[in-house]
Symmetry: C2
Subunit: 198 residues, 2 copies
DNA sequence: CAATTAAGTGAGTAACTAATGACTAACTTA
DNA sequence: TAAGTTAGTCATTAGTTACTCACTTAATTG
């Protein structure tokens, strides 16, 4: 079966993400990718000039998926608190769909080797934090959230919540529903953040 | 310079942690370790039978350092809230002292290759969570912390805070004081958790 | 349908990696 | 001080990895 290069590229990127999850990002070899895709190792280099280029494509794919998910989340809710829930839910969904993501953040394949990607990922996290901070501030103005904490700090706490539950899920046997558990803890944190009168 | 095996072993473990931080855990080769230690590659195998044994020693070292730090923290404070601060401070201190730790949690060198170590690390995190949950519960009984949240859930939020700030620090240029920023956010979270009257 | 394009193959190669084995030299101790 | 122990070296090996190159074969197109 011969496929177009674009299709193959997407297939390779997906394979890398799957493999990264199973054997670790820094152990993904061109040979392993080739076997899983079902072509020879040399064929991989028809689509990507170097292994680093492969990782660039992976990073682009992940970054774009995140942005898309956030935008979709923001589009589906109006009330600030609901928008926070949608954002966190989207993030949890992305992690569940691409379990290699947390590891990717720490793989030096993407960090040591490629400083640009490190900066890009940091930017994405900053964007996520910015979304959360904006919604928290809106919630405070609407008197739905208590205003005796900085919106930016509350945003950090909310983002950390995702990271914390993701780490526990990743490290453990993934024996609980990441999405449900994350939203449950989010409710707890939002309860702590909610305005007294509300 | 000839050293005793125990001294060399400790030197090798320290070198691995330093190298893991700089080039990534899965890129630490016996050769690179040897150069940094200042002996030949073959000499490494005088002290550890296999590379996996080296990682076992590293994991043991880290796990022990954590336990020691927690115990010291608990010994230096009496009031529950202060004990929480001491625990979190100790954890932040350990991460700052051994920046490779967060990466280590995700390195498949320790996960895929060695299931025992994965379980051991999960156990350590569970212990940390247990310490926090116990202190939160005590704080609730003492009417210092609000009791409309489960102590276990509050403990997860507190532990996540550490992980969140550590990730931001690791991923960024490490351009802020991990310890100070962590404790600052902890104060915010503790403020959210504090009993209304207090 | 002939010509061109592009995906894929097979057989390499240079560099690296964990591990081994024979041997040497520095400490310890009887 | 002689004998034993043990950290260390040197040279080597089997296996892996990213990458190359000459060549083949399937699709597209003038």
């Amino acid at each position: 079966m011969r496929k177009t290069s674009d299709l193959r590229k997407a297939e390779i990127v997906a394979t890398i993400l799957g493999l990264a999850d199973r054997i670790g990002p820094d152990r993904v070899t061109t040979g392993a990718v080739a076997i899983e895709v079902g072509v020879t190792q040399a064929a991989i280099f028809r689509h990507f000039p170097t292994k680093a280029a492969m990782w660039n494509a992976v990073a682009d794919h992940v970054a774009e998926a995140l942005t898309t998910a956030w935008d979709a989340a923001l589009a589906q809710a109006d009330i600030p608190v609901e928008r926070v829930k949608a954002l966190i839910g989207a993030q949890l969904g992305q992690i569940a769909a691409t379990p290699a993501m947390p590891m990717l953040l720490f793989s030096r394949e993407l960090n040591v080797e490629n400083a640009d990607l490190r900066v890009a990922f940091r930017g994405r996290l900053a964007t996520f934090h910015g979304h959360l901070a904006r919604e928290v501030a809106a919630g405070q103005r609407a008197r739905a959230l208590r205003n005796d904490v900085e919106a930016a700090d509350a945003a950090v706490l909310l983002a950390s919540l995702v990271q914390g539950v993701a780490i526990r899920w990743s490290l453990g046997a993934r024996d609980f529903a990441l999405h449900a558990e994350g939203l449950r803890l989010l409710d707890v944190q939002l309860h702590l953040l909610s305005a007294k009168g509300a």
